[in-house]
């Protein structure tokens, strides 16, 4: 390095190929290539295959792409899935924030440890089981409607609606989002919060002028997790949303079932992957964006 006054001892340079480190990393690299990159590439390739008489042929044609993109149901499903995942991200982030805020700023350390434990417990049970338990609660003759009928309300239809789907997404993502948000809020330098108060910023105003900007990275990453999990989820929109209209994961299942159209399902999957990669990239860029100096 020709830079004057800049000491480069190489210890921070990631460019050097260290055989020792490489040896230890090789298994995970091999695993990733074999079971993630490989199948992904195969999926992309498969989207150009053709199915004739229920048999897949290794070709390179754009028929599947042309078919899927000319179908309204694919476009509608895409828009609906994007909308649901966005709505879920927004609802979950907003609902989680007050809880995360309280856990990060208002409760004792031991309360937080208990809360963290309770937030992890839901993951002990299969997600599918948790979704079926909502059946009992949300059904026409379920717990909620039974309670409401006492005061003369209802019954309301909650299963097989968008509401049901969102409840399902929340079951999947809310505990995780609360944990991620709380970690990012707990890392905030308390002096900065007090400095804001000291400069005349009311506690309410401090939340959005100081705390949210300081926790920005963590809040966005939490929201990103929520989006990714909701966008790719099959269980909630199928069992609680009644797949009307179908989301993309349901569309993949339906497509593979009808006439062995794996290549067309691959098109849907590739589009989903591309969407998630784009959104994840944008979110992380936004999360780590520093103010630019002029």
């Amino acid at each position: 390095m020709a830079q004057v006054g800049h000491i480069d001892d190489g210890s921070l340079s990631p460019r050097r190929l260290d055989p020792y480190a490489l040896t230890w990393r090789l298994p995970i690299i091999a695993w990733q290539v074999l079971f993630f990159v490989g199948p992904l590439l195969f999926m992309v390739a498969m989207s150009f295959f053709l199915v004739k008489n229920y048999v897949m042929q290794e070709t390179f044609v754009f028929d599947n792409w042309a078919k899927m993109f000319s179908r309204n149901y694919f476009r509608d499903s895409y828009v609906y899935t994007l909308f649901l995942a966005t709505l879920s991200t927004f609802v979950v982030s907003v609902l989680a924030f007050p809880a995360s805020f309280a856990l990060a700023f208002k409760v004792s350390d031991s309360t937080w440890r208990w809360a963290l434990f309770l937030l992890i417990i839901p993951f002990f049970t299969s997600y599918l089981v948790r979704i079926f338990s909502w059946y009992v609660i949300l059904a026409e003759s379920g717990v909620i409607n039974a309670m409401l009928s006492i005061i003369g309300l209802g019954p309301y239809t909650m299963l097989n609606t968008m509401f049901g789907t969102i409840v399902g997404y929340m079951t999947l993502t809310l505990p995780l989002v609360v944990v991620l948000q709380t970690f990012s809020l707990a890392n905030i330098d308390r002096n900065l919060v007090q400095a804001a108060h000291n400069l005349g910023c009311s506690p309410w105003r401090t939340v959005y002028t100081v705390i949210v900007p300081l926790a920005k990275t963590g809040l966005i990453v939490a929201a990103l997790f929520c989006f990714i999990l909701s966008f790719g989820d099959f269980v909630s929109p199928y069992y609680l949303g009644g797949s009307k209209p179908p989301t993309l994961p349901i569309l993949i299942i339906d497509t593979t079932k009808s006439g062995q159209q794996w290549p067309r399902a691959a098109v849907v999957a590739v589009v989903m992957m591309a969407t998630l990669i784009t959104i994840a990239f944008a979110a992380i860029t936004l999360a780590y964006r520093k103010r630019t100096s002029r």
């Binding site: 330098d189 002096n191 900065l192 007090q194 400095a195 804001a196 108060h197 000291n198 400069l199 005349g200 910023c201 009311s202 506690p203 105003r205 100081v210 900007p213 300081l214 920005k216 520093k290 103010r291 100096s293 002029r294």
Partner: protein, 364 residues
């Protein structure tokens, strides 16, 4: 100036069972530069934070400009603080940081900008106005933090060890920036520090705290020359502390007998009675060192243990036959005149008026 700007009466602060501050009685006038000094954990920062409303006193009253402040929330006060960590907002640039207080007071954008630029200019960092906080040096951040606190033109500025993270040469520079600002603006500064040199260099009045209590309040010179108790005598500078029994009294002149000799000194306020146990101090820089036994009243013979050389000044550490320690501070060129190669025996002497008698109740 009938009512003082700040008055604290019987203020206590407990954290659970821990008593951080007890029975603070203090008044601060408008335009004063006050330094609160003490070791870490002495309650100085807690006292400052109570003035900012960041801690509520457990007992007692705090008034600012005559108004009872005990229950006034931090954001409803105008007591900006300069933090040890500076606490600049990393998501705002230098100018936006300075504008923050004005924005909270709902000032229009153009006025905010104008005032922020004026203060950045006044503190010599206007060229960094649009820069990211992380790209500024320690000294530049310090100036931005000062501008941020002063932009609302408060009556009272609280400073919590603001210079402790800076390099030594920058500390001296910032000290003169602070004193100059304080004099020009006429704002009351309350400056918390553990550094004696910072406190003595800048403050009009120094408050020494120990174990949550005020140990002494006074002008820097008075605290240095006339410590009110043993704690202050030991904490401030290099003092020699001798305890003995009063052997004779004539008017204000008293004679004390101690294991290391008989000493004469002048009592300034209350004169102790014969037989009382008293403690007095002699500042290290008021002690003479000679090779030959001087014909004077207060003489002690000592052997040299070690010396500490800090440029023009030298501190000698000596010990009497019974192990009592003495410290003597002198100019390096004075030391050169002493014959260094004739053993380690020295005679120490001081004038009766150089000794300062500690008040009786603190002679524990």
């Amino acid at each position: 100036m009938s009512t003082p700007l700040v008055s604290m009466e019987g203020v206590d602060k407990h954290f659970g069972t821990f008593v951080a501050v007890k029975n603070i009685n203090l008044t601060i006038d408008e335009g004063e530069f006050i330094a609160i000094m003490g070791t870490s954990g002495c309650g100085k920062t807690t006292t400052l934070r109570m003035l900012a409303g960041l801690e509520q006193p457990t007992a007692g009253t705090i008034r600012i400009a005559g108004k009872l402040m005990n229950d006034v929330r931090p954001h409803q006060r105008d007591t900006p603080m300069v933090w040890q960590s500076l606490a600049l907002f990393p998501f705002l640039n230098a100018r936006e940081n300075v504008e923050f207080g004005l924005k909270m007071r709902n000032q229009p954008a153009d006025i905010r900008r104008k005032k922020a630029m004026e203060w950045l200019d006044r503190l010599g960092v206007v060229e960094f106005a649009e820069r990211n906080i992380e790209t500024l040096s320690g000294g530049q951040k310090q100036r931005v933090a000062l501008a941020r606190s002063l932009v609302t033109e408060p009556q009272l500025l609280l400073l919590d060890e603001p210079l402790s993270a800076l390099d030594a040469h920058l500390v001296i520079r910032m000290q003169s920036v602070l004193t100059k600002l304080q004099r020009e603006l006429g704002i009351t500064f309350v400056y918390v520090t553990h550094s004696q040199s910072e406190a003595f260099a800048m403050a009009d009045r120094v408050i020494i705290m120990s174990n949550g209590e005020i140990a002494q309040t006074g002008l820097p010179r008075d605290i240095y020359r006339e410590p009110a108790n043993r704690f202050v005598a030991e904490f401030v500078g290099r003092n020699n502390i001798i305890t003995g029994e009063v052997a004779g009294v004539s008017g204000k002149k008293i004679e004390i007998s101690s294991p290391i000799g008989r000493f004469k000194l002048n009592a300034d306020a209350t004169v102790p009675a014969v037989g009382d146990t008293v403690t007095f101090v002699i500042a290290a820089d008021l002690v003479e060192v000679t090779r030959a036994k001087p014909k004077a009243d207060n003489v002690v013979d000592c052997s040299l243990i070690s010396e500490e050389f800090i440029g023009s000044m030298v501190t000698l550490f000596l010990e009497t036959a019974d192990g009592t320690e003495f410290k003597v501070q002198l100019q390096e060129r004075e030391l050169a005149t002493l014959d260094h190669n004739s053993g380690s025996l020295f005679y120490l002497s001081w004038k009766a008026e150089s000794a300062h008698l500690l008040p009786a109740e603190t002679n524990k």
